[in-house]
């Protein structure tokens, strides 16, 4: 009985957390403009309408460019930082690590304001480059955390062994560290792309006319209730969830054999 209550409680909590995601998918195929119970009939009309709008495709293009650039840069910086933490001890290392991990704890509205002000000073506000710059700041800590997790599973003497056998540091990096970290790096690429793909507050502050998908959703939302958002949202959910699940699969799959 106690276990039953436990399961029921857990199920209720998960239902609350996942209700909006599930509802969005259901409503996107539902004919009512203002969905209620009982539901209307099945339709793909909202998808057809949403994806016939040129600005939606424009936004998708922008989002893909920003997400791809962000994930490449953030994963590189994240890996470099994780490796530095793994390999070296130095003065100010706590400050270095704080710099590496703090950005996501700052409210996005504040980061958005600071970015807008600073990027306009250097002439980058309103550009996709500006959004990429801001997203790399936000996404790097996640890449760093994943790569660090992977490195902590590696025997540190492995690299020294390669050095002792005559490999230079670059050769050891290429033949020992990078192959070992490969799943984590791919995982970081996926996760940082997901972070970028969903971020809309900073992007909204700095984007100007170059809207990404979530910024477009935000602007549609400021008008009227429109189930097209559910259609676009479902596609966005599927994209980011596949990226996150792929990232988790890659990082946790190997562990079982070790």
């Amino acid at each position: 009985m106690k276990t039953f209550i436990g399961w029921a409680y857990l199920a209720a909590l998960f239902a609350f957390i996942f209700a909006p995601i599930a509802a969005s998918v259901v409503f996107s195929f539902n004919s009512d403009r203002f969905p209620t119970l009982p539901l209307g009939h099945f339709t793909t009309d909202w998808y057809a309408r949403a994806f016939s709008r040129p600005e939606v495709w424009q936004a998708i293009g922008n989002s893909l460019i920003v997400a791809a650039a962000t994930s490449a840069i953030a994963s590189f910086i994240g890996f470099a930082t994780a490796y530095t933490d793994f390999r070296y001890g130095f003065r100010f290392k706590p400050a270095y690590l704080a710099l590496a991990l703090l950005p996501p704890t700052l409210p996005l509205v504040i980061l958005g304001l600071a970015m807008l002000a600073w990027l306009s000073q250097v002439g980058l506000s309103g550009t996709l480059t500006g959004i990429i710059i801001a997203h790399v700041v936000l996404a790097t800590p996640f890449a760093m955390a994943i790569c660090r997790l992977r490195l902590s599973q590696m025997d540190p003497s492995l690299e020294s062994a390669a050095w002792n056998l005559g490999a230079g540091p670059w050769t050891a990096m290429r033949h020992v560290i990078l192959p070992f970290c490969a799943p984590a790096i791919v995982s970081a690429l996926c996760l940082t792309a997901a972070v970028s793909f969903d971020e809309f507050i900073v992007a909204w502050f700095v984007s100007g006319l170059n809207r990404t998908v979530p910024v477009l959703i935000l602007e549609i939302l400021q008008g009227n209730v429109d189930p097209q958002i559910n259609a676009i949202g479902t596609v966005v959910f599927l994209t980011s969830m596949s990226l996150v699940i792929a990232a988790q699969f890659l990082i946790f799959r190997k562990r079982r054999h070790e």
């Binding site: 995601i21 390999r87 700041v137």
Partner: protein, 282 residues
């Protein structure tokens, strides 16, 4: 581990990228924002100067302090409510599930963290609407309709959607890490289940419980989607104040004042919470 003292280019290739990027695009923008709070806007352009005009204007406004206290109060409330709702689930996850079952549940909880909160908030807007599914179901029972949107309740639904997964993850981690023999010992010594919970389990898991509540506080304090789309902006929170001041008023320096007050508040709360979380631990 301690690399040689002499200059090692290999080491710097890996160390510098973070310093350069986060220095140029995280630290400097924040410093610039702080400096900007002393500038003035004339003819829609910011002019560098050093006056306390914006500070006096913002901090002298009753509306600012109303926004401050409502934001702080909601963040505390969300931290407490989320912790209370999450705790029974975390206990169950930590003590009744197998290791692989628990890992699977936690992996599921990470997923929403990376999905669009904006679309989720919109879904709540539809679900909780006056004529929406929840009111339709309640109407079938002869209840309602209830006005749930554009209220503190609506905002709280948004906050909880945002923070609950993370709170459960923090709590479950710290609970699952408790040495099970401690709990058995308490039982063998005749402690009731309640006494074991209050005197053994909660103190042992304190770090995760406090950090979970802290993250709920931080995320609620900085959230603008829930108060805006589900809370109806009335009363406005600090985040809404920043957006209004920036977007419609073009008063970036005044928005910067609000942002700095928020950062200072978060810093004070985080320092206190981390101290409390690790107190009594080596």
């Amino acid at each position: 581990m301690n690399a040689s003292r002499k200059f090692d280019p290999y080491a710097y290739v890996w160390r510098l990228p973070l310093l350069l990027w986060q220095g140029a695009f995280f630290v400097i923008p924040l410093i610039f924002m702080a400096a900007m709070s002393f500038w003035l806007v004339k003819n829609y352009r910011m002019e560098p100067t050093f006056v306390f005009d914006n500070w006096e204007r913002m901090l002298g406004r009753g509306a600012f302090w109303d926004a401050y206290w409502i934001t702080l109060w909601r963040a505390v409330l969300a931290g407490v409510i989320a912790s209370a709702i999450a705790f029974p689930a975390s206990l169950f996850l930590a003590f009744r599930l197998t290791n692989s079952g628990r890992r699977f549940a936690l992996l599921c909880l990470i997923v929403p963290f990376f999905t669009s909160f904006l679309v989720r908030a919109y879904a709540w807007q539809v679900i909780l609407a006056e004529s929406g599914p929840v009111n339709a179901a309640l109407g079938g029972l002869g209840l309602g309709p209830f006005t749930m949107l554009n209220s503190g309740f609506g905002a709280m639904v948004g906050y909880l959607t945002l923070v609950l997964p993370l709170v459960v993850i923090f709590q479950t981690w710290s609970l699952a890490a408790i040495d099970k023999s401690l709990i058995e010992a308490a039982g063998n010594l005749g402690a009731s289940a309640w006494a074991t919970l209050v005197r053994v389990i909660i103190p042992a898991a304190k770090t995760g419980l406090v950090l979970g509540a802290l993250f709920a506080f931080i995320m609620t304090f900085g959230d603008f989607v829930s108060p805006f789309y589900l809370g109806g902006s009335k009363p406005p929170t600090l985040t809404i104040l920043i957006i209004d001041t920036t977007k419609s008023g073009q008063q970036w320096p005044r928005a910067a004042v609000v942002a700095i007050v928020m950062i200072l508040t978060l810093f004070a709360v985080a320092t206190a919470a981390v101290k409390a979380a690790y107190r009594g631990r080596g």
